[in-house]
Symmetry: C2
Subunit: 365 residues, 2 copies
């Protein structure tokens, strides 16, 4: 990114040298991104400033391109979706749209049956978080996308936690829109992407000029584009490693913990799930207390929030009882996680859990 | 920006060390930005990904917070405004709003009279480009903001070309919203800002979480924030230099050209205008041809486009005849422009103009 943050500061849309000298880097970056996604040349890719912006872009675009001309005003998400989709649909509700969150089963999955129950002739869009970045379940696309196609419903997949983690065929997803956040793929802050299948209408979200084919105003963020493309290339190269070695380390973490604390609840373990994520609950331990104690020991975990939903709420939607859900924590590995990291983390997590269990027993007694 | 693009990659909203270690840099950056704008602590500042996003944010926010609850659905811009405001209002027209571009006088200015004629009891917002980055005129805020206040109209100023170029009192502008683009202030690509006066309602544009007080979803772009704040600090420190030395160099450029080509039309010269911008027209010279010829000689000029309007169209709106407008070019200096730059540019511009004038005479004869 450095040349583009320093000497090569031109605006690509400006018809002079400072703009033109950026062309080859821009072209190479788009090629890397298209290749990473498995996109066709005639598909559209919009560089956004975040996954959140990309999700808002999709939902507002469908409102403009489908709802306004056809009256189809129902927008579906799932009960375990992330905040941008749910809240962008919420914003449309003030304009006369109807949002509905499709329930999930006890595997955290939207089924064809629950989708069939939720949809109506007025459904414009199903927006799904493809793989859940806190709990791991991967939505069963085959059935869902077939149903969407059959009923004339556009399908948006938020794919941040899938990209670079799982192999897939873009064609087979059946998606019309795919969005992702750059910094969660080791790309630079302030980047994200929106892919639009060729032939699907897309309106601008940020209006105001001819940049990015008129689909996003504002001078192209060239350093961001170059950094994101490099991150995606590295991501593509490490999918195998993530699916084998990192999945093994994640399993080692789970096994190491459950060996010492057998009463731990491990969620979504016996199903298809993301290779780098695990969530678990420790009886008698408040997840917030554990989160803060682990932080002091150098371990970063998550209970959701930010653009995620609360972990506890998503677990409750998946049929986990409320008390257990409030005791749950999510751990996430990356391709930089080492065996040594895991070997050090297990005893730290175990001792922290036991420490808090003792404390809570004292408080009760 | 470097530490925040490398080791300090945490998410500020995440409750652990990698997030917390960012706090002091974030706090210092916001302080610099508030100080640069002259904002009060209780005012709101939203870091956006561009000026275009910030402008869209204002216009959509006014739609949600004013139009939907009150029915006030008229949005005013000016005939010399930039593309994001005009096109964001255009997007609202599909939702039942009415956009109107207020005419300008032959100084390129919106007058209180033309505003009074254009507004109605249903006017929600006046959105103005405060200083025109291609032609230089500075809108007369006193009268306009008084009229807006008196008639209950919100006032948005797009201030990209004013910030770091002119001293002003935020209070005296009477503005409710101020937006700007970061990279045009020597900040990093992918940054912009939105200031909201304390007490003015603002809705999120990118929905989806609690980041930036719920006003903009997506993890805070910390490297962008830090870079933008540093650029604004440098911008504040160089206002005097721009208003004196750079204005002198701009005048030297104008005088040097008109001395050799006395038939040059210089626009908006005898009025209050930006210190670093000039626009001029050379009889018998197509501005596109001149733009490309100058580019080959290392001089970057502009005829508008991108997020700007076409220069020619803005000049026509200001009463310049169409033929002259099509011969016009805009030059812009920065604090890095040197006397030597200007001394070298004058003969290059002059020889290019004469070369093209001869060519066009040949074509005619």
């Amino acid at each position: 990114m450095m040349p583009f943050l320093t000497e090569m500061w031109g605006t690509p849309s400006a018809p002079h040298q400072k703009g033109q000298e950026l062309y080859s880097a821009i072209r190479d970056s788009y090629k890397q991104l298209y290749s990473f996604l498995g996109a066709k040349e005639e598909d559209t890719f919009v560089l956004t400033s975040s996954g959140s912006e990309a999700v808002n872009h999709v939902i507002h675009s469908v409102y403009r391109e489908t709802t306004l001309p056809t009256g189809k005003n129902q927008f579906l998400t799932s009960k375990v979706d992330e905040a941008p989709a749910i809240m962008a649909v919420g914003a449309l509700e003030r304009l006369g749209c109807v949002g509905k969150m499709v329930p999930v089963n006890n595997q955290g999955l939207v089924t064809a049956e629950s989708l069939a129950t939720a949809l109506s002739p007025r459904t414009a869009l199903l927006s799904l978080s493809w793989g859940n970045g806190l709990t791991g379940p991967i939505q069963p696309l085959g059935e869902l996308s077939a149903l969407c196609r059959q009923r004339g419903i556009l399908l948006h997949l938020e794919a941040t936690h899938i990209l670079g983690k799982l192999m897939f065929s873009l064609e087979e997803t059946g998606a019309d829109f795919i969005t992702f956040n750059g910094d969660q793929l080791h790309g630079p802050r302030g980047t994200g992407g929106l892919w639009v299948r060729h032939g699907v209408k897309c309106a601008p979200f940020i209006s105001g000029g001819s940049d990015q084919g008129g689909l996003r105003a504002g001078a192209l963020n060239v350093p961001g584009l170059v950094g994101l493309a490099a991150a995606c290339k590295e991501g593509a190269d490490s999918v195998d490693y993530i699916c084998t070695e990192i999945a093994r380390l994640r399993d080692k973490l789970e096994n190491g913990i459950i060996e010492k604390i057998p009463e731990t609840s491990l969620f979504f373990r016996n199903q298809e799930r993301l290779p780098h994520v695990t969530s678990m609950a420790f009886p008698g331990v408040s997840n917030e207390a554990l989160l803060f104690l682990l932080n002091r020991k150098g371990i970063c975990a998550s209970i959701g929030g930010g653009h995620f939903q609360q972990l506890a709420l998503m677990l409750i939607e998946s049929g986990i009882n409320e008390k257990t859900a409030q005791e749950a924590l999510s751990f996430s590995l990356s391709r930089y996680t080492t065996e040594q990291d895991i070997d050090e983390a297990i005893p730290l997590i175990v001792e922290s859990v036991i420490q808090l269990q003792k404390l809570s027993q004292k408080l009760v007694s």
